[in-house]
Amino acid sequence: MPIQKGMEVSIAVSEAVKLANVDVISAYPITPQTHIVEHLSELVADGELKAAFIPVESEHSALSAAVGAAAVGARAYTATSSQGLALMHEIMFVASSMRIPLVMTVVNRALSAPINIWNDLSDIMAQRDCGWVQLFAINGQEAVDLTLQAFKIAEDPRVLLPVAVNLDGFVLSHVIEPIELPDQEAVDRFLPVFKPTLRLDPDQPVSMGAFGSPEVFIEVKKQVEEALIGSQKVAAEVWKDFGDIFGRTYKPVESYKAKGAEILLVTMGSITETAMTAVDSMREKGRKVGLIHIRLWRPFPFKEFFQAIREAKCLAVVDRALVPGGVGGPVGLEIKSALFEKKERPYVAEFVAGLGGRDLTVEVFAEMAAKAERYAKTQKEMRYEMIGVREK
């Protein structure tokens, strides 16, 4: 039986990549992703992981090389953060539209300027529309588990899409947590060798990434979109298998003390655990506050989301990215649009907070919950509110 050991989350993620038995890692180091790829390059150099490590000259090349490797049938992996992810933008679309199954860890960090190496979700939210499956880990164990699951989701013949596993920079990636690394034998049972549906093979030549004229382009896009939407069903199966083998269960949307809650905080990523502590203390004071967190961001799990919020009178959405000039942040935008089809819907208080590594403490969550309750009472018209901005 595997036991829990204290280890840095980045190191644990690299160990998960090793357990997934990847064939090719192509990566360029960038803070705060660095520890992951450094450790992987050590594992390869020490002969502990039999894989090719391609030290490329930029993130554009990192993802391109991973796409190429997956196209020939390798299990391919890369990782990045912030500016590095922005540099991959072009290839993000290429990877999904070419139906390339690969896994990338995104260690979330703010985008410049000003230059900032700390955490928020502006990097991945700028890649929202690239056609990738996008998952968010709230702690180190999830980061490990989601990494293993990501390969199985990506490589399923019904999906064949790239998967991004998101974890917060520093506040999650660099902390030491108790983590259970699964046994290799169990991982091999869970995650068999990748069998590509289509691959570059000199004996059966095909061309990938060719021209697509107006007569075919929209059909290709429809196919990618259906595969992405369909990946949710596959993710559910993968989570079922994972639970059977490893005993930890996963859902696209998770609830915490949501039963009987009138106000629900809506979070993503590692801030969720701080928000849970805030919920605990508000509950102790008799306030009807709960929480949901979105683990599967793309494809958005509409049904499970509606189910999770059905009893709430008010949602306090915590966005850690801004859609400049729009209605607030990407999560708030998604939720408000999703709710538009519902006749009965909760009041949505939308907050943009924690940008560029600004601390989100228990008190800040309590403040947002209190504000949301107040605004809901008067049905205050609001687009969004930025939390913690100094006015003077």
Binding site: R99, L160, P205, M208, E219, V220, Q223, E226
Partner: protein, 98 residues
């Protein structure tokens, strides 16, 4: 028009829009949008060096048994590269009828 295969419904488009048939670019009629000029070779001047064949970006030249190069209107888009590269100035670009 070049031959276009029956257009697929979205479910039948090959995965990721891959091309499953090797070498089918042969069917692609690049001569479709030829500018209104085309090359003509003067065999009196031609020394069979093959520069036109090498430089043509659309594979519009094929060598015959006698060593001269045949021009193929199916692929030629009238760029004039062959005329420019021919060391003997054996190729002239002439206007085409509408």
């Amino acid at each position: 028009m070049a031959k276009i295969d029956a257009l697929h419904p979205w479910k039948e488009v090959p995965l990721g829009c891959a091309i499953l048939e090797a070498g089918n670019s042969r069917q692609f009629k690049t001569g479709d949008w030829r500018s209104k000029i085309r090359p003509v070779t003067d065999q009196e001047k031609c020394i069979k060096c093959g520069m036109c064949w090498i430089f043509c970006p659309d594979m519009a030249y094929n060598q015959r048994a006698d060593g001269f190069y045949d021009w193929n209107s199916y692929y030629c888009k009238g760029c004039g590269i062959c005329a420019r590269e021919c060391p003997k100035e054996a190729i002239q670009m002439i206007a085409e009828e509408e």
